[in-house]
Structure formats: C-alpha cells, structure tokens
C-alpha cells in the first residue's frame, strides 16, 4: 500500500512539474506575449514603459520564467490575474469550494443514477427496460454538455443535475458491463440457484467482487465532471473555477488559466490515486 501511494505521489509531482513546464512554454511562445496593452496608456511616463518592457524581457527565457513561477508557487504566490487585477491565489481560494461542491453533488447524482440503472438493468433483464436505459444514455452522450447546461437553465433546475446526467451517461455503460460479468460468475449463479435474496446477492457477492473496477471507473469520472464544469458553470452562471477558466480564456489571461489547469490536473490525479488506493484496500481485504 505504501509503495502504491508513494508511486502515485511521485507520478503526481512529475506530471505537475512537466505539465507546468509545458504550460509555461506555451505561455511564453503564445502570440502577443511580448506586448502589453498597458504600454499604450498615454498617462504612463517613458520610464514606466521602459520598466514594463524590461519586466517582460526578463520573462524571455522559458526556464528562468518557469523557475520563477515555481519559486513563487511554492510560497503560495501564483501571480496576478491580468484581467481581474487580483492575485490568482485569492481568486482560486474564493471559487474552488463552489466547484468542489458542484462537482461533488454532480458525482453523487451521477453515480447513484448509474448504479441504480445498471443494477436494475442487470438484475431485471427485461428487454424493454434495457433498451430504454441504453437509449436514454445514448441520447445524453450525443448532446454537448453545453447544451445540457442550457437545458438545465431553461428548466430552472440546479446546475449539478447537468453534471449528474453527464457523469451518469459516461459511467453507466462500464458499470453495467462490470455488473453483467459479476452476475455471470459461478459462485453468484450458485447463490441465485440456492434462492439467496436479491439484495444479499448484490451487497455480499456482486459489489465486493467488482468494487475495484467500479471504483476505477468512478475515479476517471471525476475528470469528466471537472471538464464538464466549464460549460455548466459558464452557462448556469455559477461562480466557480470552470467559469473562471472560461472568463480567463476569453480574456486570454494566461497566468490564471495555467494555474487553474494545473490545479484541476492535481485534483484529477488525486482522485484517481484515492480510487486506486481504495480499490487496493478492497483487494487486500478480499484476499
């Protein structure tokens, strides 16, 4: 277990370092990096403009730029948002809880729906129900998440329902297949033949067998939910990280956008690590 956790932490650190370097390189070579609209301000003196140019020129070397960014990031300083004129750290601290709450509720709704529909479809084995659930999931998968968010706005429903639907549609098919496989296992067929109750079979035999894989899929769905949080927050008017990322993209506020992307990557990887550790714990207990 210790090796698994340390391996994941190492992977997380390397990914964040490389991701940060990639992002810093992209920011450095993005068109318009060397120019600054503030330099056009006629109220500024020539000395101020020269100082601003020198400050920009100091960021010319990518490695130096990245080292500077990392050094400040360690102390909790992620720079200043160019458009909102506020420290990035402050903006992130303000909006992160909103997104975590939205994504948390969305995941809860999505996982509950997926588990409910997957278990009923697997256990009932009624062709019409199977067709209806598959068609419903297929339909949700074919609608862009932004349009789902607009639908939620139109219905005046809470934003997490859109996220829940997206997570449900992405998770359902995998969970359904996993449960199908579990129900076809010899010891579960025997349990059913012996007349064991449906709930007992599900909670004592089916779920423990497939828990590791179910958790792995659940871990991956966190990334899906975080990605979908951008259109949902932007269109439902929820002031979270997704909306901030969208505003930063429209205003080309690159330092803010890079910090948000790295933060979201960290959350995604941590959730994957958590689901894998939990899965390992299940495996150990079963062994």
């Amino acid at each position: 277990m210790f090796h698994l956790v340390s391996r994941h932490i190492l992977r997380l650190a390397v990914t964040l370092l490389l991701g940060g370097l990639l992002a810093a390189t992209l920011v450095r070579f993005a068109p318009g990096f060397d120019t600054d609209e503030q330099q056009l301000d006629s109220r500024l003196s020539s000395e101020s403009i020269v100082a601003m140019r020198q400050q920009r020129a100091a960021h010319g070397d990518v490695l130096k730029f990245y080292a500077g960014f990392l050094g400040s990031a360690i102390t909790g300083d992620f720079g200043q948002s160019q458009t909102l004129n506020r420290p990035v750290r402050e903006l992130v601290i303000e909006r992160l809880p909103v997104t975590l709450k939205l994504v948390g509720y969305g995941l809860l709704v999505g996982w509950t729906l997926a588990l409910l529909f997957a278990t009923t479809a697997t256990m009932a084995r009624v062709a019409a129900w199977d067709l209806a659930t598959t068609a419903a999931v297929g339909l949700v998968l074919c609608i862009p998440s932004a349009v789902l968010a607009l639908g939620i706005v139109f219905l005046r429903a809470p934003g997490f329902l859109a996220l829940g639907l997206i997570v449900f549609a992405n998770v359902f098919r995998y969970w359904r297949n996993l449960l199908d496989k579990s129900y076809a296992m010899p010891h579960i067929i025997t349990a059913r033949a012996k007349g064991l109750g449906t709930a007992k079979i599900l909670f004592w035999h089916v779920l423990p067998v497939s828990a590791t894989q179910l958790l792995a899929v659940a871990g991956v769905s966190v990334s899906v939910a975080l990605s979908a949080s951008i259109p949902v927050e932007a269109l439902c008017g929820i002031p979270g990280i997704g909306q901030l990322a969208w505003q930063a993209a429209l205003a080309r506020d690159l330092s803010l956008l890079v910090t948000i992307t790295l933060l979201v990557t960290m959350v995604t990887m941590l959730s994957n690590t958590f689901s894998e550790v939990l899965g390992q714990a299940f495996r150990t207990q079963a062994a």
Binding site: T15, L18, A23, C142, P144, A146, S223, A249, T261
Partner: protein, 269 residues
C-alpha cells in the same frame, strides 16, 4: 442491430451529401442578410427555418454549418489518429525507453482534463482572427491534442504484435526494423486505427459544439454546429420556436449514427 446500423449509415450519408452540396441546396449564402424581413422571423416559404438575429436564412446556415463540422471533424480525427499511430506504433514496437517516454507523454496529456487543456491552448492563440482561420485553429487543436488515448490503445496493439511469432520469424530472416514496422506491424494495426478514427469523429464534433457555445470555436459569420447552438442561449419558448432546435436535432442524429456504426468497428478492433 444490423438493420439499425445500415439505417444509421444511410442517414449519415444523406446528411453528408446534403451538407456537402450546401451551395446547391441552400436558398442563400450563409452570410446574406435579408433586410426586408424582420430578424428572428419564423418559418416561411422563403426561409424554411426562419431567420436569425441578423436576418440571415437559418436553413442555409444549418446546411453550411453542417458542412463545416462534418468535413473538419474527420480531418481532425485523421490527424489525431496519424499522431497516435506514430507515437503508439513506435512506442509499442521498439519498447524499452521509447515506450516509457511515449507513455509518460501520453499520461501527461491524459492527466490534463480535456476541456481545460483545450481552453488553455486555444486561449494562447489569438481570438480575434478571421472565420476561416478560426476553423483551421479549432480543428487543428482538436487533432493535435486528441491523440493520447488512441496512442495508448495502438501501443498495446503494437506491443502484442512485437511479441508474436510471425514478427520473430521475420526478424530471424534478417528484415530491417523499419521495413518490418512498415510492412508487417502497421498493416496489422489497421483495424485498431480505423476504430480510433471513427471513435474520434463524434468526440470532436461534440467538443467543437461545446467550444462554439462557449464562444471559443468557429467565429462569425461562418456557421458551425457550435456557433448555431449558441443561438439556444437566447431561446425563450420551446413550444413556439421549435425550429431553432433543428441544428441540435441534426447533431444528435449524426453523432448517434456515428455511435451506432462504431459498435461494429469497436468489436472488430
């Protein structure tokens, strides 16, 4: 199921033919403004789906928008599949350090949530560009950033082929590595590559639609499914203005058709 797939194929071909012949079927150009009619007019003999906020014929814009999305999503899918084939085949076939490096790169790309990564890279490029440049930028980005998951699948396939008997035999007979890769490994990866290509198309269509609704996709006046769906933001009444849902309906039909056709290719892969 076979019949449903055939029906999906026919639908897809019909949508593709009508959109490719947009200049023949559309009653007007996508940017022509009809000043004599009021903007946001309802369906009429002249404008089958009414007009938009700027008085442009909505039916024509749907046809041209479908053409943009339907032509460029496969192009982006082709680009991402080629990149995936390059990275995956080299990593899987050569193994060792190559595989470790390629898989580390793939992991890095897969760790970054798709829409966040896309948004970050899109924002780094100028937003105030011509409509045609925005089309190229949007779909080029999709192609360049969407290869990672496919590369992983291709790498696994190439690894399996590397350890197979016929490759061992070919190597023993003295064939060069490059020739072996080109003549034996890549042709055997074809079913997997085809499946990845088909899987990528609906993903890219949906991603473009999401970017379009968020105002980061294809820019005006050129229409795409994304920019057409943006109109739904100002949609007030479903029952009175159902014609506004036509782009969404077309998108759902197309993506569903792709998904239905895909089930066979996935099985083949």
């Amino acid at each position: 199921m076979k019949r449903i797939r055939q029906f999906a194929g026919v639908l897809l071909v019909a949508v593709a033919v009508v959109s490719l012949g947009a200049s023949l079927f559309a009653p007007a150009n996508y940017s022509t403004q009809f000043r004599d009619d009021s903007p946001n007019a309802g369906p009429s003999h002249q404008h089958w789906l009414g007009t938009d906020d700027l008085g442009r014929d909505r039916f024509s814009r749907v046809l041209y928008g479908t053409r943009v999305s339907l032509l460029l999503a496969p192009t982006a899918a082709l680009l991402s599949t080629l990149l995936a084939a390059l990275v995956g085949a080299i990593a899987g076939y050569f193994g060792g350090t190559w595989e470790k490096l390629a898989m580390a790169g793939t992991d890095l790309f897969l760790s970054l949530p798709w829409l966040f990564l896309l948004l970050m890279v899109r924002a780094m490029l100028p937003l105030n560009i011509s409509a045609f440049a925005s089309v190229a930028v949007t779909f080029l980005l999709l192609g360049l950033l969407g290869w990672a998951a496919s590369a992983r699948v291709i790498c696994a396939g190439a690894r399996a082929i590397r350890n197979s008997d016929f490759v061992l035999l070919a190597r023993a007979s003295g064939i060069s590595r490059a020739r072996l890769l080109m003549l034996h490994v890549l042709p055997n990866l074809k079913p997997g590559l085809l499946a990845q290509f088909w899987i990528s198309i609906p993903v890219f269509i949906l991603t473009e639609a999401n970017l379009g609704v968020l105002g980061l996709g294809v820019t005006e006046p050129l229409p795409s499914w994304g920019s057409l769906l943006r109109e739904l933001e100002s949609y007030a009444n479903f029952s009175n203005e159902y014609w506004r849902l036509v782009p969404l309906l077309l998108l759902v039909i197309t993506v569903t058709s792709f998904q239905l056709i895909l089930t066979r290719d996935e099985a083949a892969a």
